[in-house]
């Protein structure tokens, strides 16, 4: 899944991403505030989307599942 690959390749968290559950809290796993910005920019580029201001919050990037939901919503909204 592309989201996991992006988290891994951009070193968003200091632990191997393949051991992270979909619902696990990425902030608890050591994702810094700035890393979440890097992830946001990487997701926007990879999926050709732009997160609206209403989505620029801690919850959106909290877990792989929450990111997946937001990205899916934006990708389907675009189509």
């Amino acid at each position: 899944m592309q989201i996991r690959e992006l988290i891994g390749s951009h070193k968003i968290i200091p632990v191997p991403v393949d051991r992270v559950g979909d619902e696990e809290d990425l902030y608890d796993l050591g994702m810094t505030s700035f890393a979440s910005v890097q992830l946001m920019l990487a997701l926007e580029e990879a999926f050709d989307i732009e997160f609206p201001e209403s989505m620029l919050n801690r919850k959106t990037f909290q877990s792989i599942a929450s990111i997946d939901r937001s990205v899916s919503e934006l990708v389907s909204g675009r189509a």
Binding site: T32, S33, F34, S36, V37, Q38, M40, L41, F51, E53, L56, N57, R58, F61
Partner: protein, 320 residues
């Protein structure tokens, strides 16, 4: 139109400054000689009275800092460029950073430099970056200094800092200066130690400001992080209540000015600079920052341009 400017209305302790002054506050400050214009927004001379108010206010802060056993250090307003690069400041606030450049050429380059100035063209191309950048916050030079000294002791560390700081944000609001002084107390230790420290100042700060008969209110705040990503960082900071500000009306009641800030950095600087405790855990840190010019401006705004005419009770707190 001929009404007394509201800034100079004698104020009861509970009275708030009037929202819209007859003229911009900055113009008042120039006319009364409290600040001296330089021709560049945000860069001003300060009158003797203004400096004395800052000195007196600082003695109040210092009293607390001494009681707490803080180690006093004053850094110059510049720091090594490599430390700014490592600090991450340019990730979050590239728009505010200032760096020092200087001429390092030969005679021919010097001629070109002078020609460019004479012709009114860009002469900055004849300057090179030096090893220095301007200090953006009083505590930035502290962390590498602490890290270099070895493990943070079990009791933690406490510092009382002061520095002129630079932020590139020219403005007509006198409260937004490009060069200003920040007094800061910084606690480094366990999460509990630094949280206790911040809690203590969250109580003390408003008390101190109210003793000067200034209206104030605490609020959750965020730093002015750059760009769209910055919005996400700002929300994160607010959600976690990492930053509080003590707001005092200066330019207007509607948009009061942050004069004190209370920040919990978690282990951000501990991890960044390798500040570790004796047990090997990364140190946490927190700081309380006093915007000295802003506090002085709040006093001049509330109590008037003539410090001799300030309420006796306020003068007693400051001058004893």
């Amino acid at each position: 139109m001929n009404a007394v400017p509201p800034a100079f209305t004698p104020a009861e302790p509970t009275v708030e400054p009037v929202a819209s002054a007859a003229k911009p506050f900055l113009d008042e400050l120039f006319e009364t000689g409290v600040l001296i214009p330089s021709g560049v927004d945000g860069l001003y001379g300060r009158s003797g009275a203004f400096e004395e108010v800052i000195d007196r206010f600082e003695t109040l802060v210092e009293r607390h800092a001494r009681e707490d056993g803080a180690v006093k250090i004053h850094f110059p307003p510049a720091m090594p460029r490599v430390n700014m690069e490592k600090s991450g400041y340019l990730k979050s606030f590239p728009q505010l950073a200032g760096s020092v450049h200087s001429f390092m050429g030969n005679d021919m380059d010097h001629c070109r430099l002078l020609s460019a100035i004479a012709e009114g063209t860009d002469w900055s191309q004849f300057q090179q970056p030096t090893d220095l950048v301007l200090t953006p916050a009083a505590c930035y030079p502290l962390y590498p200094t602490v890290a270099a000294k070895g493990p943070v002791p079990a009791d933690g560390l406490l510092f009382d800092l002061k520095s002129y700081c630079f932020r590139h944000e020219p403005s007509k609001e006198p409260t937004r200066m490009q060069f200003f002084r920040m007094r800061e107390n910084v606690r480094i230790g366990t999460a509990e130690q630094v949280s206790d420290f911040r809690e203590r100042w969250l109580e003390r700060g408003p008390k101190l400001i109210r003793s000067l008969e200034l209206p104030c209110a605490l609020d959750v705040a965020n730093d002015p992080f750059f760009g769209r990503g910055g919005k996400l960082m700002a929300r994160n900071q607010r959600d976690q209540q990492l930053k509080f500000e003590l707001l005092i009306p200066v330019n207007s009641v509607e948009n009061p000015t942050a004069c004190l800030s209370f920040n919990y950095h978690q282990d951000h600087f501990g991890t960044l600079w390798g500040m570790e405790r004796e047990d090997g855990e990364k140190a946490h840190s927190a700081c309380v920052g006093f915007g000295l010019e802003r506090i002085a401006l709040a006093l001049f705004r509330q109590h008037g341009s003539d410090v001799e005419a300030w309420p006796k009770s306020v003068r007693k707190v400051l001058w004893g």
